[in-house]
Each structure stands twice: as C-alpha cells, then as structure tokens.
Symmetry: C2
DNA sequence: CCTGAAAATACCTAGAG
DNA sequence: CTCTAGGTATTTTCAGG
C-alpha cells in the first residue's frame, strides 16, 4: 500500500474508461506481462483504489429525461436534523448524489426524474415532507455539458 | 429498439453495480440462458442503453481529497460566451461535471482537487481567467452523503 | 428462447532470470 | 519483482430444435 507508480496509474486510467478489458489486453496496453498486470489489478482492488466496476447507462434512453440539482437548507434548531436528513436521502432511489456543503446552504442534492411533473411530485411529496427542511432552491439542467468525466490520473 | 422488458431492466440493474460479471453468472441471476443473455447484452449496447463500462475509483485514496461545486455566472453581453465557456470546461481535466442550469446562475461545475490550495489555483488561474466569467460562488463539500448512486430501474 | 457441443480465451501455478 | 510457459478451468459462440 505504499505509492502508485506509473504502471498503476496507467492501469487505473484505462480501467476507468474501459472497465471490461481483459487482463491480457490491459497488459499489452500498459507494457507489462499479463501475470504482473493481474497481480497489480488484484492489489489495486484489495487496497481500495478500485471500489468496483459498473456499466454506464444512458439516462435519457431509460426515461430519466430531467436532471435537477436542489439546494436544501435545514432548520438547525433540532439537534439531529442533519443525520436524519442524510439517512432519509440515502434511502431515496431518485437521489443520485447528496453532499453536505459549506456556504450559503446545507445540502446539495442531485436527482434524475422523468419530467417536471415527476420532479414536482418528488419535491412536494418526498423532499419537502422531511422534518427539518426549511427551504429548497431548484435548478433544472438545460444542457449537460460534461458528465461522469474520469479522474485525471 | 422497442421497449425494455423485465429481463432487460434486470440486466441493466445488475450491470450498473457489477460491471464485470460474466454472461453465465448474469444469466443465472436474471433467470435466462447464457446465450439469450449474451444476445440481450449485445443489443443493449448496440441500441445505446449501455454506453460503456468503467472502474469506480476511490478519489480520496488517489489524492483528490476535496470535492467542490462552483456556481458560475456569465457576462451575457458577448454572443457566444456560453459556447466558449462550455468548450473550455470540456477541456479541463479537473472538471468532472458541468451543467447549464435554469435559475439564479448559468453553470454548475463539479471539480475534484487535492486540497484548498489546489482549488485556489484552479479558481484563480483557470476558471476566473476565462473570458465572460462574471461571478463565481464556491461550495466546498464537507461530507459526501451519497455518491454515484445507480439509476433506479 | 433453450440445449449441447466446439472453439477461443482467460486464469493459475510453477520455475527461471 | 518480473517474465515465460504449460495445464486447467471458464466463457463465449455456433449449431439445431
């Protein structure tokens, strides 16, 4: 678990984009033998650099035409509003991301829904019904300029 | 390219989480034969439902300890500021996501950097040096409550 | 859509540099 | 720590029903 050398970074960079390459092809693209490459790959997983593999899906083709960001402000009078909100959000399948931020609001929520009507339901029935939610600001995405870019290794 | 049935959705759901399962294991988990499953998988890729496969990496272990969101407001006097900004952002490896939004600002930028000093450099030397950037608001993430959640198929 | 085979490919171990 | 090489196990693929 010391440090990553040039080959490790190369492996990670390739795997970020082509998650399904075989060990032999990966080996020739990084310039090592399949055996060594396989060992490095296993080590990178064991040490937690690689947390998993997944397919990239096209949200628009799957009925998620609308991407929305929501800024959430909480009522900080109750003690454990933050934990409660965080746990509730983790259980919502519509929420793809949620981050606690420092600045003008408390949480930034990223969600994908079918359309504005669906989002209206999500906001009213689910998000605003949570205890402690004092205010929300909705920002609908008009154009996804860049999305799911790989980490610059 | 008609519609997705229950099996297709099951395949996509599994592949989102386990992008490297073999066709035979995928087959027994969805309850079809390997042959049929392989054909469906190929079709889902050809029709664009699956856009690719990738490894999920741990940003914190790779030197990206700080996640930051930036709201950007543009100077709308020049005609093509939007296109210029969008193209510049696409070429920045530090920027993981960028979306044009409707509401109080123009673009929402998601970036990962090593620390606050790195972000300071990114903001001053790169983002603010772009023509047409009138104002930015920075929100540093204190806790990543939820991240890269799969689409709820 | 399934079964059953063949063909290809992958992984794993052993042993040398 | 890395490579070469062979044997083993899987997987994929292509028949035909």
């Amino acid at each position: 678990m010391t440090e990553l050398d040039k080959f490790d970074r190369r492996i990670l960079a390739i795997l970020q984009v082509d998650g399904r390459v075989s060990t032999v092809e990966l080996a020739e693209r990084v310039g090592l033998s399949p055996t060594t490459t396989g060992e490095r790959l296993r080590r990178l997983q064991k040490d937690g650099y690689i947390t998993g593999f997944g397919a990239r899906l096209d949200p628009h083709r799957l009925g998620f035409g609308l991407l929305v960001f929501v800024e959430v402000l909480l009522d900080k009078t109750t003690p454990d509003v933050f934990d409660k909100f965080a746990q509730a959000v983790r259980d919502m399948p519509e929420v793809l991301e949620c981050h606690m931020v420092a600045g003008g609001f408390d949480y930034l929520v990223k969600t994908r829904v079918a359309d504005m009507a669906s989002y209206r339901r999500f906001l009213g029935d689910i998000l605003l019904s949570l205890p402690g939610v004092r205010e929300t600001r909705t920002y609908a995405v008009m154009e996804e300029v860049k999305n799911d870019s790989p980490l610059p290794l």
